[in-house]
Assembly symmetry: C2
Homo-oligomer: 274 residues x 2
């Protein structure tokens, strides 16, 4: 789907950088959550795929910009050079900008949903989740925290709720938005797995290798940066992640057997090795 | 309107940078065109103001990112330090990202238009105008042109049609989109004034001072960069701009006296001193 949506551009160089950043080795966890949440309500897969593609564009734009020298200054992403290393900084900035923009073009496109009110709601919710009160705000808080005073568990959780939680929430609620259904159970599921995902990321950063992970590790440690896992300790953090997964799975009760794949996804999130 | 829309954030620092970039000394030419095009069709001003605010967010995001060291590396914008000089690069990148995102949140918001199909169309058209096949694509082409072979008049016009023309087109068509009216006359008007605006920018860059313009001048000359004005020569370029203004004014004939302010705007665009 995303392959098709990334096929036309005034600038082949810019399109190439967008494709480099968005296609390939990613886990595609967020589009998967969109598709599975849509399946709960029998939303056609063709619609869900477009919403998943839009969300992946936002996720990949955020990786490209976060990797920039002025931000996290990372050279490696998914085992390959980061976009600004493969191309250059200007191209990476524009590729990120263009992926973010494309996300909203996809959502507003007539093929995404027959009801314009749903398309409009999808745009509104994804924009809120991505912007100053969502992911981008969380990234700023994270940068400020690195430069500032000692962090508490609460302040770190607040940062992560914005930085990574908001997109997870959109991913899981997307099916309900497309179906005009109650979003509350999926929101609880999303918030639980979002935090579990982050704790697992912290643990992987502490325990894994760049070879296994496809990106630099022990970054937080080297920067003296507190994480949920480092503040709680490894054992307590792993236990917390397990409890969150149990809570996430419990939230899916209203959907019966239809939600089995989402249950597996919750378990995968804490057991993954990369 | 934009003042109100920029009042809430998880990160006061990020909000501050967004406000710094978007509020203040700008010409607000694009929102003005939205409001005037809406007036032709008796679209309520409250709706037009939100669309204008969204468009200004996109315009200001593009200035913040274009000014970055990896792009045009400008220190001065509207007579003040550029966003990355006033704050830092990471904050400027995130402020640009967040302004772009906010634009789509505004457009998709229920207050923008009672008809969700119109909101969705506004999102779709603004995203197309801003992205890889519009403004961002044009900026990439412009960067490639600076690094590459000698430019022709046609290739430069193609770059400018993308880089600055696409947002002008959205601004002028917005009223017709909100009213569900024919967009063709406003598209012609937009394309004419967009090119006239660019030629005037070229001429001001050649002839004005940083004090008068509030930003660096003679940049194109110093970089040995061909512009429409430099390739045509000043006299022929000024004449071309005048002809475009006449053509733009002619395109407004269907709207009678209601379009008088847009006629004045076309004249202002070539007579402005900054």
């Amino acid at each position: 789907m995303l392959e098709q949506l990334l096929s036309e551009s005034a600038s082949p160089r810019l399109l190439g950088a967008m494709r480099y950043a968005a296609l390939g080795a990613g886990k595609r966890l967020r589009p998967f959550l969109v598709i599975e949440s849509a399946r709960l309500f029998n939303v056609p897969a063709a619609n869900a795929l477009r919403v998943g593609a839009a969300l992946e564009c936002v996720h990949c734009y955020s990786l490209v910009h976060d990797d920039l020298p002025a931000m996290d200054d990372d050279d490696l992403r998914r085992g390959k050079p980061t976009a600004h290393k493969k191309f250059d900084e200007a191209t990476a900035i524009l590729a990120g900008d263009s992926l973010l923009t494309l996300a909203f073009e996809i959502l507003a496109g007539a093929d995404t949903h027959p009801d314009a009110a749903v398309r409009s709601a999808l745009v509104f919710e994804l924009a809120k989740a991505s912007g100053v009160n969502g992911m981008a705000g969380g990234q700023m808080l994270d940068i400020e925290a690195e430069a500032g005073a000692a962090q508490t568990l609460d302040s770190i959780i607040r940062i992560q709720t914005h930085k990574t939680g908001a997109l997870f929430r959109f991913a899981c609620e997307a099916g309900a938005i497309m179906a005009g259904a109650d979003r509350a159970p999926l929101r609880r599921y999303a918030d639980d797995i979002g935090l579990a995902f982050q704790i697992t990321d912290d643990l992987l950063d502490m325990e894994s290798s760049p070879q296994a992970l496809g990106k630099a590790t022990q970054k937080d440690l080297q920067r003296g940066k507190a994480t949920i896992a480092s503040l709680m300790g490894r054992t307590a953090a792993a236990e917390k992640a397990e409890n969150l997964v149990a809570s996430a799975i419990a939230a899916l009760t209203p959907y019966g057997g239809k939600a089995d794949t989402l249950r597996e996804a919750a378990r995968f999130i804490v057991s993954r090795k990369k």
